[in-house]
Symmetry: C2
Subunit: 240 residues, 2 copies
Amino acid sequence: MQKISPSTAIDHLPHLAYDSVIFGFSGTQLKILIMEYHNTNIFALPGGFVLKNENLNDAVRRGLKERTGLDNIHLEQFYTFGDADRNNAEPMRTILVKNGLSPEKYHWMLERFISVAYYALINYKDVVPQPDALSDSCRWYPVNALPPLMMDHALIVEKALQTLRDNLDRKLARGNLLPPKFTMKELQQAYEAILGTSLLRTTFQRRMLSLNLLERHEKQYSGGAHKAPYLYSFIRFEAS
Amino acid sequence: MQKISPSTAIDHLPHLAYDSVIFGFSGTQLKILIMEYHNTNIFALPGGFVLKNENLNDAVRRGLKERTGLDNIHLEQFYTFGDADRNNAEPMRTILVKNGLSPEKYHWMLERFISVAYYALINYKDVVPQPDALSDSCRWYPVNALPPLMMDHALIVEKALQTLRDNLDRKLARGNLLPPKFTMKELQQAYEAILGTSLLRTTFQRRMLSLNLLERHEKQYSGGAHKAPYLYSFIRFEAS
DNA sequence: CTATTATTGTCACGAATTGAGACAATAGGA
DNA sequence: TCCTATTGTCTCAATTCGTGACAATAATAG
């Protein structure tokens, strides 16, 4: 949730929110940005609301920019969660109270919300996560060690992962999960972290090269006592 | 759009709608249900609104039931369209006027709508399309010969097709595009209509059989002067 | 300077899958 | 009984994939 003021209710479309599953990759781990609300032990995906005259996609881009400082990120919408009972008013009431806001004045926040979910693949190192008005932290958590999430956010993460997993080739190539240049090993580790399986090195390398999505650059001398790997980058095609 | 009354505005979530791309298959053609509004020459996808306490998915199911009489149909949500300018008030105003409804009273229908889009694969023969209060026809049109559609509905159809095309195997097996029993040729024609390409008969047959999704039944004696084909049906797995 | 070691890029070979045609087995009609 | 259109299956080559082998390093240790 983004900056909140009493006017938020009238500036924004009612009953509509978005949530974002922001993936990052560090070492061998796939991570997600998770927010924690002040003094509540309540964890949630970063989300926000849509201005009355704003494109839905722009609203999410705006939120992501506030959260990560990053612009021009490839966002992919993957599902809209619309069960009537997905909003449990209790945690939100707690969040308001602990933030010194009156649940009466902010009653609109306790109502039902339909949430459009997006995911983004961003470069872990480029980001300094920014908590927002209601939350005191916005941190990376490994996907397989998430804190308990409020409402249906665990389900949203699960669906994001499922979506990401199929046609992963194209998705990784468009996102920014890896730095601009990376080794084949790093690429393989990213695949393995996302798919949750281990892959055969030689087969993987052959398949990646045959996709014609990679450009080969100079070698990377890591200081290790072994052959230096090539660096690769994705060949970027026009925005479709 | 479904039944409309002055109370619709307060019974439903504001600014939220759904649209459905209902696919049917007849002969060799893939078709879609399209509505035409009374005396307007305005064509649109069947859609509707969501009750304040209704699950989004249930709202769509309800609309589909009204439109086709069919229950228990596999619906798949595929995208939410949220551009601020996707709603052009003019056609909707025309529709209201031509239906003898005052644009002032029904002003909420002219506002911005976010629309969650679903597709369904249903058996052409099971359906007697039902127009709703505002429309005078609800008819099948071949996907490649659609009338000009209002707003961004052509885009919605395009995206539905794109979505349907990948992982078509699983999707066809879950939907009801074909009758309960069908020949291999009918199955191939459905694939070809959806993918827009022609497929090799022998390769297709081998691939289909190797998927272990089909059960073989008795032969169909069509009256034609040639070998009778087997009938097949999809093996239905538990709902996931 | 040479031997050692961990890694990486590539190749080789059999297994599995796919493309494309051949062919036998019908179900009627002539 | 023969003919024809269609269907089910097989074959063979082409391609892709799983798997291991192997040579080419980039330091480090002796």
